[in-house]
Amino acid sequence: MSAPVKDGSKDNANDVSAHAQHHAIPSHLHLETPEKPYLDSNELIINMGPQHPATHGVLRVILKLDGEKVRGTECVIGYLHRGVEKIAENRTYTMFNPYVDRMDYVAAVSNGLGYCEAVEKLLNVEAPPRADYIRVILTELNRIASHQLWLGTHALDIGAMTPLFYTFRDREEILKIFERYCGARLTTHAFRIGGCQYETYAGFEKDVKNFLTFVAPKIDEYEELLTTNRIWLERTKNVGVISAEDCVALGVTGPVLRASGVKWDLRKAQPYAAYSKFDFEIPTGENGDTFDRYLVRMEEMRQSLRIVEQAVNSIPEGPIMAKVPKVIKPPVGEIYHSIEAPKGELGYFIVSDGSTQPYRLRVRPPSLVNLQALDVMVRGLLVADVIAVIGTIDIVLGEVDR
């Protein structure tokens, strides 16, 4: 592909190599088989997936086992590949908007937000404040929903059946709000380029406030079931540990990065939408183990509630759509815009050649990048821990494969 942006292609190449040198992957991440195996000829190669109850869809992990000890993993992805990025090149900017919902389908609102903001940045328009507030409310609600789904399936992977149903019960309330707002529960397509299509329905604020009072004790309830549970602690503490350096080197973002102690959240670091107006904390962990990631996500849910509460109490009146031309034709250029999706940094890189369709659209999906950390996390652990770690990375295969 030759970029339509003509100038400086050589410089770019230099930049890339310099970049690579600077961020060279630490040597211990080049993983060779470290030691003589316990029983040489008895190395089990196990195909975990693509049809497996705990790989969250169609992830296939090839496990090299020594007894039950994991000596290496290899992720095989692409079973759910739909060519979303290629589709974008044949759709107008408006037409492509619903497609992004199908990537991380449990956090569709975030995906839509990232895409709309990226195109807005390309068009140089800004969504009106009211639209920004609605976006924040819906995105944070979606973050809670995503974390709830993560918690339920993660607990189920580790063997606790019950939390799944508790979280699904409460996630249902969020989906109801989405449904009333835009008619869809999962693939919401809630936002439009330049704002929101729909004004909030009558009673939206009441619904959200009711939800806030409803869900706060429920989060405590999940914690009651798990946080002090001995077996849960034993299964999650010191399991899948990853250091902050490794996280940074591998490009891991989101709760996984924060649980390793790096206070990096795009909502604070480069505020988008209306996030700069709200007061919230970035929870971080210390050990970077599965338990810390669990705690970080639980705390993030509470922080999301705080944000939603502030937003819904101070939501301004006004228009919900900026002035956007009927036919969206961004100027020639390229843009990278990223937001803090529930799973990490979700970025859109759009190259425009001035036509109605993107010349190239590239998604930086947090799940895919975070999945790289799997091998680092599970080496030397047992099969059961692989399940726990896959759960704790919180991947959605729709987003990994796109």
Partner: protein, 195 residues
């Protein structure tokens, strides 16, 4: 299937109240069980696949346990089932699964010197036969009734002694437990990669 069923039947049939009374169908069960035991033994030494051998050995062990029941040794029978069938054989199966069996099942079954071994075993068998034929009188046709009801207590008093007095075999028993301890330690040390 048959050993399990038998265990049930034997449990019913051998626990008669009168200790002197012979169980209902002694010859039938004796021939059945000893047949099964010998069949199992035969399969152990002929089957190619080690897991099949282990299963055959389990058959033999369970049949032997029934024979012990018929000999009014219920405690030994129970120990046989618990230790052998439930413990040692599971260990065997565990190890068979741990070491690769794909290759073993394709290998030759017998070693190069098998005719020698067979001849030696045949000689041994001849020795047994002659001993049984010639020494028929040494084995009187009698079965002295052992009170079955208190079998366990009697074995216990031989092993542990009673009322402050050392039993006949207390010392040997302690030695045996020491042997087990040493065996456990040895097994652990041998199989552990790094100590």
């Amino acid at each position: 299937m048959i050993p399990g069923l038998n265990l049930a039947l034997m449990a019913v049939f051998t626990t008669t109240t009168d200790p002197g009374m012979e169980p209902v169908a002694t010859p039938f069960f004796f021939y059945l069980l000893s047949g099964l035991a010998i069949l199992g033994g035969f399969l152990v030494i002929t089957r190619r696949n080690p897991v099949h051998c282990a299963l055959a050995l389990i058959l033999t062990l369970i049949a032997m346990a029934h024979l012990y029941l018929m000999l009014y040794a219920p405690f030994v029978a129970a120990v046989q089932i618990i230790v052998y069938a439930g413990g040692i054989m599971v260990l065997f199966l565990f190890v068979i699964m741990l070491v690769s069996i794909e290759r073993a099942s394709k290998d030759r079954r017998f070693n190069r010197f098998w005719p020698v071994g067979l001849a030696a075993a045949c000689a041994l068998m001849a020795l047994f036969v002659s001993a049984f034929v010639k020494g028929r009188a040494l084995f009187p046709d009698r079965m002295i009734a052992i009170p079955e009801g208190s079998n366990t207590q009697q074995v216990a008093s031989m092993l542990y002694g009673e009322a402050g007095r050392m039993g006949q075999y207390t010392f040997a028993f302690e030695i045996a437990s020491l042997l087990l301890l040493v065996a456990i330690l040895g097994a652990v040390i041998m199989t552990k990669k790094k100590i």
